[in-house]
Amino acid sequence: MLAGYLGAAALWYACVAWVPLESFRRLPDPVAVVTEWLSPQPTYGISIFTEAYYKHILYSTWRASAAFAAATLLGVPLGVCIGWSRSFSGFASALLGMLRPVPPLAWVPLAILIFAGSEAAVIFVTFLVAFFATTLNTAVGVKSIDPDFFRAAACLGASRMDILLDVVLPGALPNIFTGLQIAMGAAWFSLAAGEMIAAQYGLGFLIMEAYNLIQFPTIVIAMATLGLLGYLSSALIRVLGNRLMRWREQSLGFAA
């Protein structure tokens, strides 16, 4: 594991430092990036000690979580309806099918026109991406539940509401969490792009600004931070999922 990281860093350093190619020379080398990232007085104003760094992080995180929360609150119930009732699915899946091929980032210009400021536009696009992922995976989750569970519940006198709470939701949970993981990844993905195109703050914006002002180490710092936040948020969802779905552990010692 460590060998891999050291090897990669060494390779990166070697390329930047010695390879005569012009394009390699322009790239920031790892040492410069790390020293900038950790220095109390960073030459370009962005390091773990500077307040601006955390402001960008805060903006990005707030936007991502707002979009993600909206996508979950809207996407899961809609996904359950699509998965559980054929007639509702008839209405919704055609509409979703029509809108889905349009890449989320293509919505940015339209979103900025509709939502006056860029703030709402970026959040809308990030929401859209996460919404599609959550809704579709929830619907697949509900459809994949073994029909015997519905029948067993009906035999035991469960009402439709009981079946929703005792069969549909818990049964679809594994797929819902897969959807949430994908949604979180996609949210960060489109957030970064949205910020690069249309925002005043946020890590995506920071990357573009650093590029325009030729502050190369800051570009890499912002990229690494985005990657880290993406990884951490997915891990958070995984942990939440395992806690909610403790029943999925394999058999403990009882021989089959």
Binding site: D146, D148, F149, R151, A152, A153, A154, C155, L156, G157, A158, S159, D162, D166, V167, P170, G171, L173, M245, R246, W247, R248, E249, Q250, S251, L252, F254, A255, A256
Partner: protein
């Protein structure tokens, strides 16, 4: 004394996209209260279709099914499953996300038939009587062996005191040894709780060893080919498996069941071609 099931002239025709398939035609037999009846037939003979009609998962297009005089199925009647005839499913249907206790008390609690404490007490008692399963009350189904899961599912059914218990090839996926244990367990439950049992299987040996009456079905469209009274006496013990009567019963039944099996097998191969 309840649990008398009567199947009169039952027929079922599916028409997916117009190509009408007749699964059951004029199927009739009676199941006396507290009797153990096995339904045997090759795959595709309509065993599951009949079970779905009795359980209320699907309609019938002809005939009538009644339980203790109450109408269960009839053309035009909306099917409604209920705790008076609970199904134990082939691949098991314990809710994986609920503990054993939550699974078993699910029925009475949903029907508000028992208070939480009464349901819990009854559940633990029934689980203890099913091979000391009360110790697994807090475990999740995934942590149990297939044999134990099967017994918990039967307890979940018994918790509703159903006059009729419907078993859909419950031991099909089990290995020979667990199956032998489950046979004894099921016979023991039938003796102790005096429930009428309708047991679907494609395994003739299992049907003869367990049942009082074996209903042999024809291949599609399924109807009753033969009704065999099993005179092995009760309680059934494994020693009967190598008794002369058992061997004779099996030989005569095997002949008619094999005919259907061969026809179904040929049709299966033809459909593959």
């Amino acid at each position: 004394m309840s649990g008398a099931l009567s199947i009169r002239g039952v027929g079922k025709t599916y028409d997916p996209e117009g190509a009408s398939v007749e699964a059951l035609r004029d199927c009739s037999f009676e199941v006396r209260a507290e009797e153990f009846v096995a339904i045997v037939g090759p795959s595709g003979c309509g065993k599951s279709t009949l079970l779905n009609a009795i359980a209320g998962f699907d309609t019938v297009t002809a005939g009538q099914i009644t339980l203790d005089g109450r109408l269960l199925a009839q053309p035009g009647l909306a099917p409604k499953p209920g705790p008076d005839r609970v199904v134990v499913f082939q691949h098991g249907a314990l809710f994986p996300w609920k503990t054993v206790l939550e699974n078993v008390t699910y029925g009475p609690l949903r029907q508000k038939a028992l208070s939480r404490e009464a349901a819990r007490a009854k559940a633990l008692e029934l689980l203890r009587a099913s091979g000391g399963l009360d110790s697994t009350a807090a475990s999740y189904p995934a942590q149990l062996s297939s044999g134990m899961q099967r017994r918990v599912e039967i307890v979940r059914a018994l918790m509703n005191d159903p006059p009729l218990l419907l078993l859909d090839e419950p031991f099909r996926a089990m290995d020979g040894f667990s199956k032998a244990t489950m046979h004894q367990h099921l016979l023991d439950l039938h003796r102790r709780y005096r429930k009428t049992i309708v047991f679907i299987t494609h395994d003739l040996d299992e049907a003869i060893y367990l049942a009082d009456t074996v209903v042999v079905m024809t291949t599609r469209p399924g109807t009753v080919k033969e009704i065999i009274r099993v005179g092995l006496g009760r309680p059934r013990v494994p020693q009967m498996l190598y008794s002369r009567d058992y061997a004779e019963l099996k030989r005569s039944a095997a002949q008619s069941v094999h005919e259907e099996a061969r026809r179904a097998f040929e049709r299966g191969e033809r459909e593959q071609a």
